[in-house]
Symmetry: C2
Subunit: 475 residues, 2 copies
C-alpha cells in the first residue's frame, strides 16, 4: 500500500501521533501480528547496523569480544539472584511446551542475560589469569509489556549487552564508567544527541545492581528518554552463582562484575530529538542514505547520464548515495526523501547542467546552494560534517535551555509540566521520589556526575539536601 | 578451568568424540544449562562473524536488504500454510505465559520465518512496482530436537534466512539457484569446502516448498552434511496468506516466493572437513586469527620488541594477527594454537634474530621455513593464499575419491557403509528411498545438477531409472 506522501500530524499538535506517523511513513518499522513485536524494515534496520558498526569498533578498541549465549534461561537458574528475579519475573515470556512435551523446568525467554553470563563465567574462570573477561553480545530480548511503542518500549527489542568480570572493584567500576563514556561519545559523534550522564537513584537502578549509570536524552516534547545504562554489580551475582578464582596471592576470590547495554530505543531518540513536521531528520553519519540524487526531467538528454556519473563520484568518496531513477515525479521524490530524513538532496536538471552546476539541499534547514559539478563530491563530504555539527549544536542548545533549577515543589512542577529537567537538591529519601511521581508523574532521571550544591534543603521535603538530581517526565 | 593441552581423541579411533573434543578444547563453544542450547564462545562466534561479513557483501551485491522480524509467531498465523505447519509443529518451542497471564493465542518461537515474512509482504506489496522484494535476516531460530550436537543439530542455532517475492516464476527460480551458487562460492573462497550442488527429492524437500536445492559437504568420516538450502515456493504461501499485487497488465496476481539459508552448521562442516588429530585446522580467510606470533625466550633482550614490531607490520597488511605475550611456555603456546587451528605460527627467538630471520610454520601440513624479517609480511600474505588453496584442493580430492557409482543394492551398501556418496540411478519412487534408509541408514542427499545416465535401471528396484541421485549416510 502506498503510504507515502500523505501528510503527517504536526509535532506540536500531537507529538505521539507525529512519532507514530514518522515511524510508519519513513518505513522504519511495521507492526506484526503480535502486539509489541515490531518488524524492523530495511531503512530502520540499516540505522541499527550503523550503530552496531560504530560500537563494535569501540568495543574492540577497549578489548571486548563478541559472543552469543542462549535465547532461553531455565527457571531454576533464573531464580538464583533474588533481587534480579523479583525485578524481572513480572515481565517474562515463558515457554512451557517443547515439541510434544510439557517442560519440567520452564524456559524463560531472556529479558537480559546476567544469569546466563554469570553461569558461563563460572565454568571458564578459575584463575586470575582468566580475568578480566570482557564479553558483549548482540541479540534481541523479550520483556512482556502492557503498553508498547515502536522502538521506545516493546515486548521484543534489539540490543547489545556487555557482561564483564574483573579481579578488582576499581577495575570493574572503571569499566562501568568507561562504557557509559563510549555511549556518550556515540551520541556526540554518531547520533548528534547530547546526553546527560549520571548515576541512578536506588529506586531507579537495575534489579540486582550496586550502581546503575545512565545516559538521558531530552526529546522535542520535553520528555526524557533513558538511552543507555551501565551497571556495577559488585560480587553479588558471582557469589550467588559460585564464580570463584584463585588469585596471585593464593586466595580464592569472587570477581567483580558489570553489565551495560543500549538498544534500538536509540532509534526512537534520533527520531524525537531531530525530527520535524516533514518527517525524519537523520544525522549524516548514522543515515543509511547520506545523499539522494533526484534527476529532473529524466527523459532530457544527458540528465540520467550525469546523475549516474555523480553517483559514481560520491561512491568513490564512500558516501552512501542513492539515485532514484523511478518513474515517480521529482515532487514525489522530494517529499519522500524529506520524510526519510536523507541529509542531502542533489537535484540534477537540464537547465543546471547547461551551466555545469547542480542544486544541493540540506534536510536539516532546507538551505539550498548551487555547486559546480566538479566540486560536488568534496562539498558533499564537507556538508555532511557541517550538518552533523549543526544538528548536534541545535540539540545541545535545546538541552541547555531546558534544564532549570527548582528550589521547591511549585518550581519543580512548573518545570516538569512544561517539559524539561528540573534540577533540584534532594535528601536521598525514596519517599520524596515517590511524591514527585505521584504529584507530577515525573521521575528522577539521574544524579549528574557534576554535583553542585544549589541549595541547602531538599526541594521536596525541606530536609537537609544530599544530592543534586534531575527530575523529568520520561518515556 | 584449564582444559587446554590435554590430548584429544584421534579421528579414526572415535570421530564423534574427536569432534566434541575439538569443539570444547578449541574453545569454539560450551554447553549451557539447557540441553541443545549452546554458548558460542568468542573464538567460535568470530568464525560466524567472518561468514556474516562475506555473505552480507554478496547479498548486497545482489540487491538484498537486511531486516529483522519478530522472534515469535502466533499459532493462528503459523497454521495458515498446511504443509509447512505439519512439517514444523513437532519441533516447536511454545510460549504460553506472558508476564502474569496465560496467552490466548500461544506463541511459537520461530523455527523459520516464512509465515512472518509472507504476512509482512502482504502489507507492503500492492503493485508490480513493489517487486521484487529481496529481504534477508540474521537471527537465531529454535527447533526442539531430541538428539543434539554442537553446531550440527541444536535446539537453537544462528543462521541467515533470505525471503524474497518476485513477479515471475522465472525470476524466483533464478533467485533460488543464484543464492545456491553464492553459498557454493563461499565454500570455495572462504571455507575451503567443496560442495555438491543439487535438487532435493520430494521426500527430503522443505515443508511447503515446490523445490529445495542444497549444498552437501563430505566430512572426514565419509558422512554427508547438508550445509545450506534454497527453496522455490511457487505461489502457495502467497495464496494462503493473500499476498497480491496489481500487475502492469491491470491484473491482480500472487507473487512467486523463495527462501534460502545457511547456519552455524557451517562451523561444524569446517571442523569435520579440515580438522586433524592435533585439533582444528582453519581455512585462512575464515580464521579469526590468521597468524600467531610466539616469542621464544621472551626475557632475552630484543625478542619482545621485535615480536611487537612484526605484529605491527602484519596488521598494516590487514592480517588478523595475535602476539601471545603470556607467561606460558612456547611449547604450551605451540599446541594451543595448533588446537585452535591458526593457519600460521611465527616463532621469534634470539638465535634467529641474530641472523635477522624468523621461523614460520604452516598449520595445514606442519611445513616450516625460515624467512628474512623484511620478507615476513609479504610472505605471510602469500602463504595464507597458498594454505587456502592447498586445503581446498585436498578437500576436492577427498570428495572426488569418495563419489562412487553403484548399480545395485550390494554396491550401494558397500559404498555408503564405508563412507562416501553412492551415485545411483533412481526410478523416482519414495519407496526406494525408504528402503535404502531402512536397510543402510542412508538418505538421498541430492540429485546433482549435472544429470548423466549411468544406467537404464533403478539401482534399488530395477524399474526404469529417471534420475541420477547421491545416497550417503548423513548428519
Amino acid at each position: 500500500m502506498d503510504i507515502k506522501n500523505k501528510s503527517i500530524t504536526s509535532r506540536d499538535e500531537d507529538f505521539a501521533q507525529w512519532y507514530t506517523d514518522v515511524c510508519k511513513k519513513a518505513e522504519l518499522m511495521d507492526y506484526s501480528e503480535v502486539k509489541g513485536f515490531i518488524i524492523y524494515r530495511p531503512y530502520g534496520y540499516a540505522i541499527w547496523e550503523q550503530i552496531q558498526n560504530y560500537l563494535n569498533k569501540e568495543f574492540k578498541k577497549t578489548g571486548h569480544e563478541n559472543v552469543y549465549l542462549p535465547l532461553v534461561i531455565n527457571e531454576s537458574l533464573f531464580q538464583k539472584e533474588k533481587d534480579h528475579i523479583s525485578g524481572f519475573a513480572p515481565e517474562c515470556l515463558v515457554a512451557t511446551i517443547g515439541g510434544t512435551e510439557k517442560l519440567e523446568d520452564r524456559l524463560i525467554i531472556r529479558p537480559t542475560s546476567e544469569c546466563l553470563f554469570t553461569e558461563h563465567y563460572k565454568h571458564i574462570i578459575s584463575s586470575y589469569r582468566d580475568l578480566p573477561k570482557l564479553y558483549n553480545q548482540w541479540c534481541s530480548v523479550v520483556r512482556w509489556e502492557k503498553t508498547t511503542r515502536p522502538f521506545l518500549r516493546g515486548s521484543e527489542f534489539l540490543w547489545q549487552e556487555g557482561h564483564t568480570m574483573h579481579s578488582s572493584e576499581e577495575e570493574a567500576r572503571h569499566e562501568a564508567i568507561q562504557m557509559l563514556d563510549i555511549y556518550d561519545k556515540m551520541g556526540k559523534e554518531l547520533l548528534a544527541v547530547p546526553f546527560v550522564k549520571g548515576k541512578k537513584t536506588d529506586k531507579e537502578k537495575f534489579a540486582g545492581a550496586k550502581e546503575t549509570y545512565s545516559i538521558e536524552a531530552l526529546m522535542h516534547d520535553g520528555k526524557a528518554l533513558q538511552s543507555g545504562t551501565t551497571h556495577y554489580f559488585g560480587q553479588d551475582f558471582a557469589k550467588a552463582f559460585g564464580v570463584q578464582y584463585l588469585d596471585k596471592d593464593g586466595k580464592i576470590k569472587n570477581p567483580h562484575q558489570t553489565s551495560w547495554g543500549v538498544s534500538t530505543r536509540l532509534i526512537g531518540s534520533i527520531i524525537m530529538v531531530h525530527g520535524d513536521d516533514n518527517g525524519l531528520v537523520l544525522p549524516p553519519f548514522v543515515a543509511p542514505i547520506q545523499a539522494v540524487i533526484v534527476p529532473i526531467q529524466m527523459q532530457k538528454e544527458g540528465v540520467l547520464a550525469k546523475a549516474r556519473e555523480l553517483k559514481a563520484l560520491l561512491e568513490e568518496k564512500d558516501i552512501r548515495v542513492k539515485l532514484d531513477e523511478s518513474d515517480k515525479t521529482p515532487g514525489w521524490k522530494f517529499s519522500e526523501y524529506e520524510m526519510k530524513g536523507v541529509p542531502l538532496r542533489i537535484e540534477v536538471g537540464p537547465r543546471d547542467l547547461q551551466n555545469g552546476v547542480v542544486t544541493i539541499c540540506k534536510r536539516n534547514d532546507g538551505k539550498k546552494e548551487t555547486l559546480k559539478i566538479e566540486e560536488v563530491a568534496d562539498e558533499v563530504v564537507r556538508l555532511l560534517g557541517v550538518i552533523h555539527e549543526e544538528m548536534y549544536q541545535a540539540a545541545v542548545l535545546n538541552l541547555s535551555k531546558n534544564i532549570k533549577e527548582a528550589h521547591n515543589l511549585e518550581e519543580l512542577e512548573a518545570i516538569v509540566s512544561k517539559g524539561g529537567y528540573a534540577k533540584v537538591m534532594w535528601c536521598g529519601d525514596r519517599a520524596c521520589e515517590d511524591k514527585v511521581k505521584e504529584m507530577f508523574n515525573a521521575t528522577s532521571r539521574c544524579m549528574p556526575f557534576a554535583q553542585v550544591k544549589i541549595d541547602e534543603k531538599c526541594a521536596i521535603c525541606g530536609k537537609e539536601a544530599k544530592y543534586l538530581v534531575l527530575f523529568a517526565k520520561a518515556y
